[in-house]
């Protein structure tokens, strides 16, 4: 690889990714810390740091790979994704009542996380091939199975959240590809019409989880418990926060799943509005750099991949922070780069690596 290629490396994107990963490790520690929890917190943080290092290494490694290689690997990627997700259903490891993990060696892996990236890479190929045919509704429909099939495979795990992320990626990418607004409007109407039918597939507890955020006080000890505790944690943070590892809601275990889905509550509680503001600004910068990479991509495929990554991260961030703030339903979507969980972290960093790869091979970049 030519050293010149590295001149187009986006250092800001990389720096933001490193910074958010580091914040993630620190906050996972803070989320797990508490009286008598020193070992658990340290182990959790080390685990997160190991995955972060692995992910950042893979990010750099991905830069060396020309992203266009993935365009040619359409069928292998589709097959791999489907088999991998299918394996979870067959061999998967259950935890918290959901079957999401595959044990490979000693590592539990969550294939649905990697699936997000694979959906992006394969969908980009289909939409790039279609090019200006995207203006036809049939093209949109033909691209749907690329996202729908994996979504149908993660949905029964059950993992409604990830299925929704696949959906969001698909919608975001067809918008990016140039689908007509009236087609998109028609899609919205069709989905609304299908809603009663879709709800039929949901378990009662899933519907309750989706709607409880509207009135968490109706079941303060059950489904609404964590929403209420999260708001108390966030609210008690005030402007400057209670201090790192000094959150009473977190440290005395009033807040649950605090290191993964509800880590934003820990941030808000301990670092206050100021700390949360700065972290949201970092996310803003991250999204901005990714969209810019999409804009400067030398081809449509690269642009669509970057847009897919943008939507994947933006959607997850908004829904995750939103559910912490009682704005969106609780759907088990992690906060990218921050929430504890190796698969999500590594997938996000690889995705950013691919965006770097696109940026490095941008239009007008010197080879």
């Amino acid at each position: 690889m030519s050293p010149r290629l590295w001149r187009s490396f986006d250092p800001l994107l990389f720096a933001v990714a490193v910074l958010l990963t580091a914040i993630g490790v620190t906050m996972v520690y803070a989320a797990l810390a508490g009286p008598g929890q020193d070992v658990a917190a340290r182990d959790g943080a080390i685990r997160e740091a190991v995955f972060g290092t692995l992910g950042l290494t893979l990010l750099i490694g991905t830069c060396f790979i020309d992203y266009r290689i993935f365009r040619g690997l359409f069928w292998p990627l589709v097959a791999f994704n489907c088999l991998f997700l299918l394996a979870v259903l067959v061999l998967g490891h259950a935890s918290y009542g959901a079957q999401r993990w595959l044990r490979i060696g000693v590592l539990p892996i969550q294939p649905s996380e990697l699936g997000k990236l694979l959906v992006i890479l394969t969908l980009a190929r289909v939409l790039a091939d279609a090019d200006d045919q995207i203006t036809k509704f049939t093209t949109i429909l033909r691209s749907l199975p690329i996202a729908l099939l994996p979504a149908a495979l993660v949905f029964p795990q059950p993992d409604l959240g990830t299925a929704l992320v696949y959906g969001a990626i698909w919608v975001g990418m067809i918008i990016g590809a140039g689908a007509r607004w009236r087609h998109l409007g028609a899609l919205v109407l069709v989905s609304l019409a299908l809603m009663p039918f879709l709800l039929h597939f949901l378990h009662g507890y899933q519907i309750q989880r989706l709607t409880i955020f509207l009135r968490p006080e109706s079941d303060p000890k059950g489904a609404g418990y964590n929403i209420i505790q999260a708001l108390i944690a966030i609210g008690s943070g005030g402007l400057l926060g209670q201090g790192w590892t000094f959150g009473t809601q977190t440290q005395f275990h009033f807040l649950r799943v605090q290191q993964s889905d509800f880590i934003f509550s820990v941030i808000a509680e301990q670092l206050g509005f100021l700390g949360s503001f700065l972290i949201l600004m970092l996310f803003g910068l991250l999204f901005n750099r990714i969209v810019r990479a999409a804009a400067v991509s030398q081809d449509l495929y690269g642009r669509l991949v970057a847009i897919g990554v943008f939507w994947m991260l933006l959607f997850q961030t908004f829904v995750n922070v939103g559910m912490n703030l009682q704005l969106t339903p609780v759907t088990g979507i992690p906060l990218p780069l921050i929430s504890a969980g190796g698969s999500s972290l590594v997938t996000s960093l690889i995705a950013i690596g691919i965006v770097e790869s696109i940026h490095m091979r941008r239009e007008g970049a010197s080879f």
């Binding site: 990016g176 708001l231 402007l239 009033f254 503001f277 803003g284 969209v291």
Partner: protein, 620 residues
């Protein structure tokens, strides 16, 4: 590179990129606005809720002050006892039944009754709810060992009030009981509110000195985690034990008084009675007993509705302190007070001899002596000694019914003197529920009966057989005034108030209600007369001590109107010429008019017992 013409689709895609670039700040602004609302605007409110979540303020009950008798004998104690409480909010969802089942197995209390307590609780779920009271050491410790498997359950050391010889001292000491909801609410507005489930004084000294005895609550602020386990103690303020009360009562003498009266009741010789003994030198109450009594230990631990109604419907009124609250006809017990009044008024001269009238005839109303009197002439002393009530009675009228006397005492003087001795008014003892007694007056006649006072009424009042009613404590205070030359003391119960560190806050402070300043000759005539009365009738004798006193009985129709009911009285003091104790005994529905004297003898014998002799002679 060549310049390519931009296709419409490509222009559209550029626009989409611009939309995405704008979308990011829009979404982040939405999140930040919400974050601002929750953290800055609602922040203080959520801060309070966070503190409410992880802080528990636990009150530490102070030890209640002890009640002692005048010789430092303990009358109550704080017995070791534990209380099992539950904070419902700390029990994980759906585990309540499992927790109660485990607790039931450890305490051997039926699951059903624990369950009812929890279900009936209307309080806040973070407030401790008392599940079991009065838990013994072994049960408390076995629950303490299993606290790990009992989330929300707490075991608190709460000493239980034990009353030593409870029934004997109940009229004085009273008892404690669970605070009433009105009292709880009223105390919430004061600087020293009570925690729920507090025990407060409900009667007697426990009630009167509640503020001194209760002590000051301690508080412990605990940091707790979501499972309700204590993580650490944030702050502690120690509980300060209550002050101790040392009473003027002599416990040994009080016990004798109670037992003497109680055995009469047990033997069916009386339905009840009362004893009051005061020190004529300062009004200190040495004995205050009432029979039948109640067991304050039972009342403290809480009565069932059935037990309570049984206690309330008992015809002998065990909850009423007969010594201060019940009123009885005085009968001949007013004689020495009539004599004192007549001596002071000059109607009666100490050395003048009289032939005791066999009867007094006032407009057809006949008054007799209750005993056979000698026919030989007697002086005042002799009249008192021989029980010539007719002489003192006959001299009370404006125109005396005694031959050869022109000017009698008159009803105005009579009522003045009886009130001066303390009848028809409370003595001012600190215990609640004292009654005033009753003496009719001309204005009362006019107001209530629309009738004018007649000379017969004067005699009826003086005879003690009319509408008069007195309380035993009034007679005791008045008797003490005869012994001490006319000083009517307010009876005192508090000898000393002592802080837990031993500092004396209050000493006995005698309070003179009135000084009648009886002349020396009046005083010595009355004292000698009462000594003679006691000697002549051989009523009360204590070896080595002289006693002055008068026994008698009053009759009143019983409820059926046939057989008259006898209330046996004895009142007197000793030693005769150095009075250290004045005793009044009343036996209700006595089978023998001498019963009160017998009780008094036991009381005085105990009071003058050599074991107390040092005390008795040491008193200045």
């Amino acid at each position: 590179m060549s310049i390519q013409r931009r296709l419409p689709i490509q222009q559209e895609r550029e626009r989409r990129i611009s939309i995405f670039l704008v979308l990011t700040p829009v979404l982040i602004t939405i999140l930040l606005a919400r974050l601002w609302w929750v953290q800055i605007v609602l922040g203080p409110q959520y801060q309070r809720r966070a503190n409410f979540n992880h802080e528990r303020v636990v009150t530490i009950q102070p030890l209640r002050g002890i009640v002692y008798d005048r010789y430092d004998q303990q009358l109550v104690e704080n017995a070791p006892s534990w209380q099992i409480t539950l904070i419902p909010a700390d029990v994980p969802n759906g585990e309540m039944t499992a927790v109660l089942r485990r607790l039931s197995a450890l305490t051997h209390i039926e699951l059903e009754s624990l369950d009812v307590r929890v279900r009936d609780d209307k309080g806040s779920p973070v407030q401790a709810l008392t599940l079991v009271d009065g838990v013994q050491r072994d049960v408390a410790f076995s629950v303490l060992e299993h606290l790990d498997s009992l989330p929300g359950v707490h075991v608190d050391y709460i000493p239980q009030r034990q009353y030593i010889d409870g029934p004997a001292f109940a009229p004085v000491v009273g008892y404690v009981g669970l605070i009433s909801s009105q009292q709880y609410k009223a105390a919430l507005k004061t600087p020293d509110p009570y925690p729920v489930n507090s025990f407060v004084g409900k009667a007697g000294v426990e009630q009167v000195f509640e503020q001194q005895l209760r002590g000051i609550l301690g508080h412990q602020t605990l940091e707790i985690d979501a499972s309700g386990q204590t993580v650490q103690t944030i702050s502690t303020s120690k509980a300060i034990p209550g002050d101790s009360v040392e009473l003027t009562v002599a416990a040994d003498v009080q016990r004798v008084a109670y037992q003497a009266l109680n055995s009469l009741v047990q033997q069916g010789k009386a339905t009840g009675g009362a004893v009051v003994a005061v020190d004529p030198r300062n009004g200190a109450v040495v004995v205050l007993a009432s029979v039948p009594s109640y067991d304050p230990n039972v009342l403290s631990s809480g009565l069932t509705a059935a037990e309570w109604s049984r206690l309330m419907s008992n015809p002998a009124h065990p909850l009423v302190d007969h010594a201060i609250s019940s009123q009885y006809p005085p009968g001949p017990m007013l004689d020495p007070f009539l004599a004192a009044a007549e001596l002071q008024a000059g109607v009666l001269q100490p050395q003048r001899n009289w032939v005791c009238p066999q009867r007094i005839d006032v407009n057809g109303w006949l008054f007799f002596n209750s005993r056979t009197v000698p026919t030989a002439p007697v002086n005042t002393l002799g009249a008192l000694g021989q029980g010539c009530s007719t002489l003192f009675l006959g001299l009370t009228g404006q125109q005396p019914a005694v031959t050869g006397v022109k000017q009698g005492l008159g009803h105005v003087n009579l009522l003045h003197w009886l009130e001066a001795f303390g009848f028809r008014q409370p003595t001012g003892i600190i215990l609640p529920g004292e009654t005033t007694g009753f003496l009719p007056t001309p204005s009362w006649y006019e107001r209530s009966l629309n009738a004018a006072w007649t000379s017969v009424d004067t005699y009826l009042v003086a005879s003690g057989a009319g509408p008069d009613a007195i309380t035993p404590i009034q007679l005791a205070v008045a008797t003490a005034a005869l012994a001490n030359g006319g000083k009517v003391w307010q009876p005192q119960l508090l000898q000393r108030l002592i802080t837990p560190s031993g500092r004396v806050l209050t000493e006995l402070s005698p309070h003179l209600t009135r000084n009648l300043a009886l002349s020396t000759s009046t005083t010595s005539t009355i004292i000698q007369g009462l000594a003679e009365a006691n000697r002549a009738r051989n009523s009360v004798s204590v070896p080595g001590f002289t006693i002055a006193g008068l026994g008698g009985y009053a009759t009143s129709p019983n409820t059926t109107g046939f057989l008259p009911v006898i209330d046996s009285w004895w009142t007197g003091f000793g030693p005769t010429y150095d009075p250290q104790i004045a005793v009044t005994v009343l036996v209700q529905d006595a089978t023998d008019g001498r019963q009160a004297g017998n009780v008094a003898e036991k009381i005085l014998t105990e009071f003058f017992h050599p074991s107390h002799a040092a005390e008795v002679s040491n008193v200045p």
